[in-house]
């Protein structure tokens, strides 16, 4: 054992921690006017918006509900609603 426990972590293991629990608001992708500009994918600080072909979604395990995607969607095709738990 050259590096004892407590000194190195495995890559991408942050996914074990679900930040979705922080969320008080949630993005709803209306998918009415979407033109695949992918701005929502690009602007997500957590990188949890996925999709293609005018169908996008946020991985709610991690989405913190910041609403940047909602604000930046040029077609106002994403809505922020109060989280229902």
């Amino acid at each position: 054992m050259t590096k004892p426990e407590g000194t190195v972590s495995k890559p991408g293991s942050s996914k074990e921690y679900k930040t979705g629990a922080w969320r008080t608001k949630r993005p709803i992708f209306k998918q009415e006017k979407c033109n695949d500009c992918r701005i929502c994918v690009a602007v997500c600080p957590d990188g949890v918006i996925f999709g293609a072909n005018k169908k996008y979604w946020a991985d709610l395990d991690y989405c913190k509900g910041c609403g940047i995607c909602v604000e930046e969607c040029p077609l106002k095709d994403i809505e922020l609603i109060v989280e229902v738990k």
Partner: protein, 307 residues
């Protein structure tokens, strides 16, 4: 947490490209820095070795036993990200592994312009083949919004508060890109999370250039700047559109591109979105201060020919 059934169904159909900065990290809601770092990493691709200075980025991404990084990554101290990266670079050379990875060193504005400027200067001067990225959120956010050398003029921070006899931070932002360029390094650029395509282009370009590169990314902090988390991009855009944050590239000491202001915004529009500037709209005599900041923006516009 409510289950989103639509999401699960779609996940099976669509290809999910996961970031090299994986979710589950503990950055605040709407964090500009997380967005900037994620964009830099994804653009660079997985064949990189990355260092980070102490600060928000390191704290929110590496709380043991978890790590949000998918590439080989190391944090040592606050002020030595550039020197550790230099050690990695020479080690790869000595071990005949130069082709294995490109090296990216990261630091916040404090780590870069203040405490780590010595190590950074050494890295530039010695010509290491490293891209140094400064995430500029204009204060020491990790410790609770204290003033750094890149805190803008008259911004409130917890150590440059506004008060009866103070308008906040009395100094202007240290000109780090100029300091970097003065070392004679081949590539210096500024970018903003408001313009992610531009940022991606610069990361790509920088990584193709051999030698030390400096990239400073303006990244709003909803907590420290006291703006709404959903306004991160909007605030960043206004910083650029007012002329307060010039976006440009310098190659071998010469400015080779600037991002033109498409629709000039008065500085008030930028400042009023942020709690850190709210004293500029309240205290008697504020008009004069706003004029001073407007004059600074105008001077920058003129200097960089932004319009």
């Amino acid at each position: 947490m409510a289950k989103n059934e639509v999401t699960i169904e779609k996940k099976e159909k669509e290809e999910i490209v996961e970031s090299l900065l994986t979710p589950g990290h503990k950055a605040c809601t709407g964090c500009g820095l997380a967005l900037a770092a994620r964009t830099v990493m994804n653009t660079a691709g997985k064949d990189i070795i990355v260092t980070a200075a102490t600060g928000c980025l390191e704290v929110f991404s590496t709380s043991y036993p978890h790590s949000a990084w998918k590439m080989p990554w190391i944090h040592s101290l606050f002020e030595n990200s550039a020197a550790v990266a230099a050690g990695i670079e020479v080690a790869l050379k000595a071990l005949g592994r130069e082709k294995e990875a490109k090296i990216i060193a990261q630091g916040g504005d404090g780590a870069t312009a203040d405490i780590g400027i010595g190590c950074l200067s050494g890295m530039f001067e010695r010509g290491h083949n490293i891209l140094y990225v400064c995430y500029d959120n204009e204060a020491y956010m990790n410790t609770g919004v204290q003033r750094s050398g890149l805190t803008p003029f008259e911004a409130w921070t917890s150590t440059s508060p506004s008060g009866k006899v103070s308008w906040g931070n009395p100094t202007e932002k240290k000109n780090m890109p100029a300091i970097a360029a003065a070392h004679g390094i081949p590539y210096v650029a500024t970018a903003s999370v408001a313009y992610l395509k531009d940022l991606e282009k610069k990361v790509k370009k920088a990584l193709e250039i051999v030698g030390p590169k400096y990239l400073q990314i303006h990244a709003p902090c909803p907590l420290g700047w006291a703006h709404e988390p959903y306004d991160t991009i909007k605030v960043a855009k206004l910083a650029v559109q007012t002329g307060l944050i010039p976006i440009y590239e310098m190659e071998n000491g010469v400015i080779t591109s600037v991002r033109k202001i498409t629709k000039k915004a008065p500085v008030e529009e930028y400042l009023k979105l942020q709690g850190r500037f709210k004293h500029l709209f309240k205290k008697p005599g504020f008009e004069k201060e706003l004029e001073r900041i407007q004059a600074m923006a105008d001077a920058t516009i003129k200097k960089f020919n932004l319009m």
